[in-house]
């Protein structure tokens, strides 16, 4: 990176920059050399930043009107929807924003899985990403509790009860989480506090995530290292900024459609019924983005093992860089992995589907098979594949496929050597 010798032009700029090198940072961010062959799957990092900021801004404004009290929470949400100026808009953006955030994060994660972005030297970026994902789930779950509807209340009851699976101390932990003998006002107020805090933790981790990214630089669809920055990369601004911006706008059109024309389609009708500790809804389901894990939880007949399976399903991702033994990053050059990748995608979608269905009969069977396959993929298929798979020849530089897209590797190689 060539920004170390950056010096502001103006005297004032130099004076300031010598004391706090913000201008150097800004220069680094604008000039940051980005592989020029990034496709649109790489725009979701920017989209996720937008999602986080949107959630924080709308969340702050909602917090100005929301009342975290079991007797008033539901009413205060109705107050926001009816009386607060643009309250309905802000709340619908926030509620649907959570779904859009997860939609984007899943694409981001599966992009990384396809192109092997988690592999050396980018393991730390990946692990920070997994922590962010965990925090997102925590924030989303607690946020869903705040309106204090039936799904809020029973979702909170069911999820906190997961901790009772822990031997010996489980019950004590659940009581401690609740601040009482059931989900009640103390639970609501602490969830509100944490829901307010977590996004800022995520923000801090996002800074680390990007910092860690800027050390080795971006991975790219070909999955090989940058050979010649002058040839293979473009400066982040304006090339990537405008491209991210274009993708973000497409994303916002979808987002706007949900907010303005189907604001409640992703939610559950029961959450418009005020929480009632005496009546459980017929069918408790989490929000769509947690369904695959919910399916894994329910597919195991033992309480403790179910919880362990669900947690493992997430935590297994953290060790993925060491489970995948292949030296080749991009699935483009891994014909077998590519197929297993799409099977995994289908597997997770199936898990999501059965997660929404009652846990009985055929659904339960499918959930069990899909759960088993999920772990099989990471624990067996990936490690074995690295040794067995016959990979395709990898180009020498990313300019090569960009220029020719040519199957004629020899010609490209010749050209490359001539230039050198």
């Amino acid at each position: 990176m060539s920004d170390h010798d950056y010096r502001p032009k103006s005297k004032v700029g130099q004076w300031f920059n010598d004391r706090l090198p913000l201008l150097t940072l800004a220069n680094h961010l604008t000039d940051y050399p980005t592989p020029k062959n990034l496709n649109y799957w790489w725009t979701f990092g920017g989209i996720l930043t937008f999602c986080l900021i949107t959630q924080i801004v709308t969340g702050l404004t909602l917090a100005m009107h929301y009342i975290a009290h079991a007797d008033m929470a539901f009413e205060s949400v109705e107050h926001i929807m009816r009386d607060v100026n643009y309250g309905w808009l802000i709340r619908y953006i926030h509620a649907n924003g959570a779904s859009m955030f997860f939609l984007a994060v899943y694409i981001h994660i599966f992009r990384s899985l396809f192109y092997g972005s988690y592999k050396a030297p980018r393991e730390i970026i990946w692990i920070i990403g997994i922590i962010i994902y965990l925090l997102m789930m925590a924030a989303a779950f607690m946020g869903y509790v705040l309106p204090w509807g039936q799904m809020s209340f029973w979702g909170a009851t069911v999820i906190t009860n997961l901790f009772s699976a822990i031997p010996l101390v489980g019950e004590g932990i659940v009581t401690w989480l609740w601040g009482g003998y059931s989900v009640d006002n103390p639970t609501l107020t602490r969830f509100f506090t944490l829901h307010y805090l977590i996004p800022f933790l995520i923000l801090g981790l996002v800074v680390l995530h990007i910092w860690a990214l800027h050390v080795p630089g971006n991975n790219n669809p070909v999955g090989i290292d940058i050979k010649k920055p002058s040839k293979d990369t473009v400066p982040f601004h304006p090339y990537i900024v405008i491209k991210d911006g274009f993708a973000l706008l497409m994303f916002m059109i979808v987002f706007a459609f949900f907010v303005f024309y189907a604001p409640n389609i992703l939610g559950h009708a029961d959450n418009y019924i005020e929480a009632n500790p005496m009546v459980t809804p017929a069918h408790i389901v989490p929000e769509w983005y947690l369904l695959p894990f919910y399916a894994i939880l329910r597919s195991v007949p033992d309480k403790l093992l179910g919880v362990v399976a669900m947690l493992s399903a997430i935590l297994i991702l953290a060790v993925l860089p060491w489970l995948d033994t292949s030296k080749i990053r991009s699935a483009v050059f891994r014909p077998l992995y590519k197929q297993f990748y799409w099977i995994l995608v289908a597997d997770v979608l199936i898990l999501g589907y059965v997660g929404a269905m009652p846990a009985e009969g055929l659904y339960l069977l499918i959930a069990r098979v899909a759960t088993a396959y999920y772990f099989l993929h990471f624990l067996v298929i990936l490690p074995v594949l690295g040794f067995k798979e016959k990979t395709l020849p990898v180009p020498l530089s990313i300019t090569e496929p960009v220029l020719g897209g040519s199957p004629n590797l020899a010609a490209a190689r010749n050209k490359e050597s001539k230039i050198e």
Partner: protein, 169 residues
């Protein structure tokens, strides 16, 4: 030819930036407006007070829009005292006749115009009100006479619905 191209490109970038900026500004407005009084607050903008039990020389304090309103039934001496004051002696000249249409009744916001404290009744050098925070003295018409406050206490919009009921706001 190439000059033409540059111009068109410039126009495209300018248009994109301008349209983007308009959108960004439009998004900011709801975030600001949500802090303005909401529909339920605006709906409570008027209140009716029963003043039948108020005898001359006494003050009733009621809450209106979250602020105290003094309703004073003045004695004849208080009215005379308020009406004989010369305009040039006032910091913020206002006729008592304009402040109290019905001389017996003085209705005003019980908020000191200095920094918003509530002045004390029947106190101060002018037999009216005295603000304990920074020592502003108001006369029997609620006009500022001495101290740091810049204006007289504000008279809100009000009307007598009937002989016993005042509607404020």
């Amino acid at each position: 030819m190439s000059e033409k191209k540059t111009k068109r490109r410039d126009f495209l970038f300018t248009a994109t930036t301008a349209v983007g900026a308009v959108g960004a500004a439009a998004v900011v407005w709801p975030m600001i407006d949500q802090m303005n009084p909401d529909a339920s607050v605006k709906a409570l903008a008027s209140t009716e007070v029963d003043v039948s039990s108020l005898t001359p020389g006494n003050t009733l304090t009621v809450l209106w829009r979250g602020k105290p309103v003094f309703i004073r039934r003045r004695t004849q001496e208080e009215i005379d005292e308020a009406r004989k004051v010369k305009m040039e002696d006032l910091i913020h000249p206002e006729k008592d006749e304009d402040r109290a249409k019905n001389p017996e009744w003085l209705v005003m916001l019980g908020v000191c115009t200095h920094l918003g404290c509530v002045p004390l009744n029947d106190k101060g050098d002018y037999n009216g009100w005295f603000c304990p925070c920074h020592g502003s003295h108001y006369d029997t018409s609620g006009r500022i006479r001495k101290g740091p406050a810049p204006w007289n206490m504000e008279v809100p919009k009000y009307e007598f619905v009937n002989a016993n009921t005042i509607k404020i706001g």
